[in-house]
């Protein structure tokens, strides 16, 4: 009896999740009347805007990952090593982006960094791009920090540092050549999650008026019928490809390596 309910729940649940995915793929193949074809995909891939915005978002994603790593890894390491009592504070700060909606944050950016403020980032395209980058890094912060912190918890940070220092290593070397490689698995999972977040991000990009993939998708959705579905499939594939790689790499790097 218990099994009937259990399987029912699982099957119905799976149906709810699978049908939209199947539906999207099916819809994206319907562009040509009467038969299935890849016309929608061709249309999308032929669109120069697609390449421009997708490229923009990919670059932004990579930069976000870089920025995230630069900020999070040394901080997480340093806090564990020297300021352990500060950890709850840091954790709290990294959870703030989950509490404060992105739309409020970007609203704040527009107010704080507009052309009449002390740091007029929104005045130029590059400045706005920088602002967007920082916004993305903020959105990804909780995930990146959680991943790196978990990865660090498996290392004995103190001993590792003392050993390295006794051998004459400086901070950059310690962080770059000892800490980072050992938390690579964790960093990877944080990186892929960041990538997925940035690729599809809509709110910040739209309100800051940058040519990112999210706004492009939404615009196409408002104007076209079949291309949006193709875009959704591409976005799914990109996101899930990331997740898959993330799992794979964290299994190879994360579980395998551990500091002695």
């Amino acid at each position: 009896m218990r099994h009937v309910w259990s399987w029912g729940a699982i099957i119905l649940g799976s149906l709810y999740f699978l049908l939209p995915l199947i539906g999207t793929v099916e819809f994206s193949l319907r562009m040509r009347r009467g038969e299935y074809s890849l016309d929608a995909y061709r249309s999308v891939l032929a669109d120069p805007n697609f390449h421009a915005t997708f490229g923009f978002s990919v670059v932004m994603a990579l930069l976000t990952i870089l920025l995230g790593v630069l900020i999070v890894v040394p901080t997480a390491y340093w806090v564990r090593l020297r300021l352990p009592r500060l950890r709850p504070v840091i954790e709290f700060v990294t959870l703030l982006p989950l509490v404060i909606p992105a739309i409020v944050v970007v609203f704040g950016y527009i107010r704080l960094f507009n052309t009449s403020s002390w740091l007029p980032l929104t005045g130029t395209a590059h400045g706005t791009n920088l602002l967007l980058l920082c916004g993305y890094a903020t959105l990804a912060l909780p995930y990146m920090y959680r991943a790196v912190d978990t990865g660090l918890s498996t290392l004995d940070v103190r001993t590792l540092t003392e050993a390295a220092q006794s051998l004459g290593a400086g901070w950059t070397r310690i962080i770059g050549q000892l800490v980072l490689p050992n938390v690579l698995g964790a960093v990877m999972s944080g990186a892929f999650l960041s990538f997925a977040i940035v690729i599809g991000e809509f709110t910040m990009a739209t309100l800051l008026n940058r040519p990112a993939f999210g706004p492009y998708m939404q615009l196409l959705g408002a104007n076209r019928a079949y291309e949006p579905a193709a875009l959704a499939v591409i976005a799914f594939a990109a996101t899930w490809g990331c997740m898959g790689l993330m799992q794979l790499i964290s299994r190879v790097f994360g579980a395998g390596r551990s500091a002695k």
């Binding site: 699982i10 995915l21 539906g23 340093w78 944050v105 704080l112 959704a232 799914f236």
Partner: protein
Amino acid sequence: MNRFGWNWLGVLPFFAFALLFLVLPTMNIVIGAFRNPAGEFTLANLAGLASPRIVESFVISIQISLASAALGCLIGFAMAAAVVMGGIPAWVRGPLMTFSGVASNFAGVPLAFAFIATLGRVGLVTMLLRQWFGINIYAMGFNLLSFWGLTLTYLFFQIPLMILIITPALEGLKREWREAAEVLGASTGQYWRMVALPILFPSLLGTFALLFANSFGAVATAYALTGSSLSIVPIMLFAQIRGDVLQDPHLGYAMAFGMIVVTGLANLAYVIMRSRAERWMR
């Protein structure tokens, strides 16, 4: 003492970043909510929130958030319970968790497209229901671009989030509790009513709060799905930032402040409930 100073230098970049790109912008909004155009302190903006349009948008937002959180909790709980203790084979668990991890982050424009492609007027399921079962859901009054349509779409990331969070809590239900209850004469129903559900209650309530906050702040999915037709708070704020549709910028700050308050309270509830739950699980 010098050492102490150097230590703090190490976390300076982090705090500088957080200050500049998280704290200050938010504070700016919060303070702006209490300022009038002349720069003086005022509560008028908050009072302006009481206008019918804005109140209505808050109401709708809260309703959608409650609905998607409640359904997300129920269905997510059912699925997690099925996998943890319902006799589902072990190999289902891994893929379910992985999928939940992915799907819980899966909001935004592609999600809206996916549901339009499935349950829109010419969506796959809409057509299949008509062709195979003769059921025309649109004729029956269903519309994806509506309150319930949006709720249904939100479930796509709410349910996985519930599964992810409640599964450890369900696993934390020690087998011995169940056995102890049984030896003392309790039936399965009594065990759940008197032991298991009360133990799970903080986790359930906390996750509900989290799901609520999650839904309340979501913009992209709603915008892509219902455009501006469904006037939930984030959409109104979006429009306001874009083009000052409210004719009063400070009202926008008040709305943003209102959003922060709602999501802040919900998250606070989640944190409190979670620490309660953890204390019991020791």
